[in-house]
Amino acid sequence: MAATALLKQTPKPSDAQIEAAMVNLCRCGTYNAIHAAVHELAGKGDA
């Protein structure tokens, strides 16, 4: 949901914008994967 809201507002988010939007705690530590996934999605939206 946070990712959808972010990408609707900002189709090409910067690292800082992703950091500001994706604030959920993750006990398994997937933070870098979440970051990469948002970038990947944003890239796809372009195509």
Partner: protein, 750 residues
């Protein structure tokens, strides 16, 4: 967004809702008898385990029909001896079995196997999901299992096609007769194949590793689709017909008992309440809906009674404070027992010109796994019992349920759903799991009951990662190299904590990470002062290594500083006769762009430094470099470079994910995380007061896997221990401040 249609969904949902059909496969008749009952933490080498190991070695993992079902549509259902909790073991097992069976891992449906001797596949004679053991302890056996199944399919194919078996080969999912150009899908042969006798294990040949298609490749996770689409079911999600819900309120301190309930009548009249129950150390409300049960149970005003002397659980005193306990450990001068003792430490220390002494300690931690514990219990009309519960050791849990209920184990069906994270939380810990309560409530109300512990109840009863205070003494030679090191740890290991007493032998999980170091220091002594505390302890990801490598690797940097040595060079020097670790250390240096200690100024103008540390946990070797700066008085970790040598690997993508996850948990305990107890109670009952690493404090993670070809090691836990000391060493270089306790949020940096 397109919805992917996955034909497996319907079938797998059905499989999860339906308990495993006991009558369908003969194997279960075999597995129900003589279940191997293992006390976890039983030191290997005791007679019972030795006997079990000997008996099982030849036959382990050879009851093919117990593990595999190949359906008419060619999908392969694997009953896996290990639990999936996000660490990727279901995928790894599909890769390993699929490789030898000659079936694509993507065609696998993997579920946790029931308890039973058939599934005791680990080379140490156990079946647990922990200690980073699943893959490394079962790899040859699970490969052989796949190869045996393939041999049975070939045999069935020979009969079906009327050709000699020697003329047949396989391609993924089918038996092929090249001569005639005919082939038969596994799904067509399976029913007949599974009725054939299992061939002699010695008769099957395993695939040459150079020919692997799936082992060693970043195969997609078999559980990703169900989890991403919300279809995966955890214990907390399960429903059975006629089920009631339950919630509990635990005694504020373990050992206290239920006295008068001041408002029982009012609570009984609350919305949705079915009944109110007194349990050992807890009260419960059963209701048609969990929310009603929770609201009602939290409203009960209980006169809790102080623990009695004959309390069966470890009673928590009203004056227990974690800070005071840590202080007491640091001052403990009790008798110490040696684990390692080489050279003459006492004499070298007494005569040394350069001495370094330091005291370190760590903090208690909660598991904090995403899914709070739950359990669903149902007594069937024939008096048999079914229980669904998160667990890392099904045979132990079934044995415990048998003991509690008086039922024969054959009358107990234990289901092991997916785990919503675990980190060691779901071993058998007394008074720390809801299933005894769920069983008692189900019996009392005569209907199935699902009990979920709220997050608050979980934080109250979770077992803690152990603490230690270590007094180090060391001596340097005239050239500044370490000559002697002594570490005396005042601690209670988690394994001994479960036993509740000190055993004949030292608890290896207490000292691992202080013991087992590979550095060539001629005089060393590693010893433990057994310090039994009032807190319930458990296994936490990387167990003893999670604290001990922080102590040792930080202190080693203190020796480097005192001797005027660069810490990277010092380690290379101490590992000069160890090619494997030398290679690994050089690999992490290279990965980070060449060892650069600092302090230096980064492109953004911040002042930074790097630290290095190593660890040897769970059969794997690791080396970590961390880069840090100070922001607003707190440590900011920018990058973690980790080189990891587990011998050989099965799935590089999962390895990388595990390193990322372990680094996150490692940073969490380094920077912010601690379970603080005051007046016999935990300060935090939820994440509002229990800090875990937030996304803004995660570091970039760079991984290099070094496959030395040495004996296979673990993956889930090993990437954690070297993180804390690498960060602490970087901080010391940057600030001159040596951090001797965690978390760093307790310190202020300038």
């Amino acid at each position: 967004m397109n919805v992917r249609i996955d034909p497996s969904q319907e079938a797998s949902a059905l499989a999860l809702h339906e308990p495993i059909n006991v009558s369908r496969r003969r194997f279960l008749a075999g597995t129900a008898v003589g279940a191997l009952v293992l006390g976890f933490g039983l030191p290997l080498g005791t007679t019972r385990v030795q006997a079990a190991v000997a008996a099982a070695t030849a036959e382990r993992g050879t009851q093919v029909p117990a593990f595999l079902e190949i359906r008419p549509d060619n999908r392969v259902r694997l009953l896996c001896p290990f639990m999936e909790g996000g660490q990727g073991t279901f995928t790894a097992m599909a890769q390993i079995v699929g490789e030898e069976l000659d079936a694509d891992p993507s065609t696998f449906l993997v579920e946790a196997a029931p308890p039973g001797e058939a599934y005791v596949v680990m080379e140490n004679g156990m079946r647990i999901t922990g200690g980073s053991m699943s893959v490394r302890m079962s790899y040859p056996v699970m490969r052989r299992l796949g190869a045996l199944a393939r041999a049975m399919l070939l045999q069935a194919g020979a009969q079906k096609l009327g050709v000699p078996v020697g003329e047949l080969s396989t391609e993924p999912g089918k038996v092929v007769h090249a001569k005639s150009g005919r082939s038969v899908a596994y799904g067509e042969l399976a029913e007949h194949a599974m009725d054939l006798p299992v061939p002699d294990p010695a008769s099957v040949q395993l695939r040459d590793p150079s020919q692997f298609r799936w082992i060693g490749k970043p195969v997609k996770r078999v559980d990703a689709y169900d989890k991403s689409t919300g279809k995966a079911l955890y214990s907390i999600d399960l429903k059975v017909d006629d089920m009631l819900h339950a919630a509990v309120q635990h005694a504020p301190r373990l050992g206290m008992t239920v006295g008068n309930l001041r408002n029982e009548e009012q609570v009984k009249a609350m919305k949705g309440v079915h009944s109110v129950h007194r349990l050992p150390g807890a009260v419960a409300v059963v209701a048609e809906r969990w929310w009603h049960a929770k609201r009602a149970v939290e409203a009960i005003q209980v006169d809790w009674q102080e623990p009695t002397a004959d309390s069966k659980v470890r009673s928590m005193p009203a004056d227990f404070s974690s800070d005071a306990w840590l202080k007491r450990l640091a001052e403990d001068k009790g008798p110490a027992r040696d684990d390692e003792n080489e050279g003459d430490v006492a004499a070298v220390l007494a005569s040394a010109k350069t001495r370094i002494d330091a005291t370190y300690h760590n903090q208690y931690l909660n598991h904090g796994q995403l899914e709070p514990p739950s359990a669903l219990a149902r007594f069937n009309p024939d008096g048999s019992l079914e229980v669904w519960l998160p667990n890392q050791a099904p045979d132990m849990f079934r044995a415990d349920i048998a003991k509690r209920t008086g039922l024969d184990p054959s009358r107990i069906t234990l289901h092991s759903p997916l785990l919503g994270g675990f980190f060691g939380r779901h071993f058998l810990y007394d008074a720390a799991s809801p299933y005894p309560q769920a069983i008692e409530l189900s019996k009392a109300v005569g209907r199935p009951v699902k009990l979920i512990w709220s997050r608050e109840e979980e934080f109250l009863r979770d077992v803690l990662r152990p603490v230690a205070a270590v007094n180090f003494r060391a001596a340097l030679d005239n050239d500044g190299w370490p000559l002697a090191i002594e570490a005396i740890s005042a601690t209670e290991g988690p394994t001994k904590a479960l036993a509740g007493k000190q055993g004949e032998k030292l608890d290896p999980t207490a000292l691992e990470g202080l013991s087992g170091k590979s550095y060539a220091i001629p005089n060393k002594r590693i010893a433990q002062i057994y310090a039994k505390g009032p807190a319930m302890l458990g296994y936490w990801r990387s167990v003893g290594n999670s604290l001990n490598d922080f102590f040792y690797e930080s202190f080693l940097d203190e020796l480097a500083d005192k001797g005027g040595k660069d810490p990277f060079e010092l380690r290379l020097h101490l590992l000069r006769d160890n090619p494997r670790l030398t290679t690994l250390l050089q690999a992490v240096g290279e990965l980070s762009g060449g060892w650069k200690r600092g302090p230096f100024t980064a492109a953004d103008g911040s002042k930074r430094a790097r630290g290095v540390a190593m660890a040897s946990p769970f059969g794997t070797q690791t080396a970590v470099i961390a880069e840090v700066s100070i922001e607003n008085g707190q440590v900011k970790v920018h990058d973690i470079w980790q080189a990891i040598d587990p011998g050989s690997i099965v799935n590089p993508a999962i390895v990388e994910a595990q390193v990322n996850g372990a680094v996150a948990l490692g940073l969490s305990q380094t920077l912010v995380e601690e379970a603080v107890w005051i007046d016999g109670k935990p300060r935090a009952r939820n994440y509002d007061l229990y800090p875990i690493l937030p996304p803004a404090r995660m570091a970039r993670v760079h991984v290099r896997v070094v496959e030395s070809g040495e004996k296979m090691g673990g993956i889930g836990e090993p990437p954690l221990p070297a993180v804390a000391p690498a960060v602490a060493n970087a901080v010391a270089t940057l600030t001159g401040q040596r951090v001797r306790s965690l978390p760093m949020s307790r310190h202020t940096f300038t």
